[in-house]
Symmetry: C2
Subunit: 354 residues, 2 copies
Amino acid sequence: MSDYAIGVDLGGTNLRVAAVGADGNILARTVLETEVSRGRDEVINELCDAVTQISRQLAQAAQKSSVEANGALLGIGVGVPGLIDSETGMLLESPNLPGWNDYDVQGEIERRLQTSVILENDANVAALGELWLGAGRGMDSLCLYTLGTGVGGGLILQGRIWRGWNGMAGELGHVNVEPQGHACGCGSWGCLEQYASAKAVARMAGEALAGGADTELREVTNGALDSLAVYKSAMRGDPVAKKIFERVGRSLGKALAAMINGLNLPLYVVGGGVSAGWDAFAPAMFDEVRKRSFVYAGTTGRDGQALGGRQRSTRIVRARLGGDGGLFGAARLPMMGKALAGVSPAVSSPARPL
Amino acid sequence: MSDYAIGVDLGGTNLRVAAVGADGNILARTVLETEVSRGRDEVINELCDAVTQISRQLAQAAQKSSVEANGALLGIGVGVPGLIDSETGMLLESPNLPGWNDYDVQGEIERRLQTSVILENDANVAALGELWLGAGRGMDSLCLYTLGTGVGGGLILQGRIWRGWNGMAGELGHVNVEPQGHACGCGSWGCLEQYASAKAVARMAGEALAGGADTELREVTNGALDSLAVYKSAMRGDPVAKKIFERVGRSLGKALAAMINGLNLPLYVVGGGVSAGWDAFAPAMFDEVRKRSFVYAGTTGRDGQALGGRQRSTRIVRARLGGDGGLFGAARLPMMGKALAGVSPAVSSPARPL
């Protein structure tokens, strides 16, 4: 058996733990509900129990198959939603984990399990997972959008997580797509998150109904009017539902165009629950990107000559690992080592005042 | 005398050449008009003559001062407007240098001068110059906007030029700021370039006059209605001119917010001719960035608690090197060496089709 690492994906509702071999195979896994309300100590207890249990499972499986002995445990990687101090492993802020602000998650797990732990932002580990085993296999840079309840993002530049100066890079859900658009929780208006998240899809459906639109969505019972219901309706040809997903696509296309123009990466990956609606939003997304990005158009044929025959197309694709991207990415962290996993820009002297 | 390099800033109208010491001091310099109409061979001749002349000047100065002998020439760095293949040094495309497409600029200069040459995009070298000796001194990452006739951009990540996959990174002038805005030469509408370039300022002034606006700009003779005239008028309090520069600021703020949310760099620098109007556009720019960027606001006080006391503000400042940024950056290239100067994301396997 090859060496392995344990990946933990600690979300606001689920706690997923898996032992992953250096070859990318899952050796054992478990999913628990995260009972956030019981407090952080309880959640950390459950997390540590789950890791211990996974390790035991692994030892038993190795005994049964009576083939090789287990490889070495390379460490534990933990993906959490929130802002992390990558130097200390402190969780500085997490809207989804109330009461966890300024909590030394990494140190606490290390103390309990006596193993080295690497803490990382959940969108960043999902991006790393896609690079390692998903849509970005074989590439060294990509940008991931996660269209979930909100919209998150992760950047991998030359094989390493780009955390940014304060660990706040990849806030792609708050890129503006409608200058005078819908108010966002961040304090701005018209952020991508207000048009491309699951919450936004449901909100836009509600707005259409309130406006008296003629749509089969009216027959969906109110509580079930979620992004999946709207997607299914769009695929059945309902014009209102189609229009909502077109708006998802146009908004995402605008946001993507800005990053493509700025970074010129080879690959942009769209994941998260809403990405299941790919067929309904992708045509509008591609149309918008072609119009809005000089760079995208220049690498995909509109002006192919410009590259002197070097046809290296910018690609925008769906994520491949579904909900497991974060789990794989978390397990990948200890395999890469802390120093290699992520980078942040630095100052070699104190910042001067403005 | 310390070792030195020769920097060349080859623009559509000027050819600037300087010998720059490893300590950043200019040892000799010259500026010529670029007579683009005489053809690329003639321009390359003039460029090589200017380099030879600078070298001679340097040798004479060293003799006269009779102090130390010259240091070693580390190489020649050349900044050009356009898309470059960084592996071969080919200029693939340059709207400002007609007839230069697919021209081996680097190889041609190397053949003539028998010295190693590094070719790089002009906005990229300007960004490198600002990092080395300008607004970014002591930092290792920054994003530069050049507000000139058009709007360009350059990214330095961890001390190195970020070229992107096809050398097209930093097309920051084509980030969308008005979804239904003014048509842009790139094929899109409402690009930053249509609101924050010198050409855009003059156009907006013309639009205001055509619309019958009550403004002192009406007294400016038509040919002289450039961005400087509008800036001066704004600083004298003309409401129409002030509004134009407010639009410059709002547009730039929106574009900046997207990059700040995405990359979370410590520093964003605004250069180019229009940056002389900083006093007129900066207030609106900062206002917009504070509203539009979760990350900026989070690092500059709106929600300072969020960073657990780590007050590392994102800074947006004017470029410090004026028109010399490109010259210094070009000279810096051979000092860093080709491999260190720039990086591009790569694929370790051929890209798969969609």
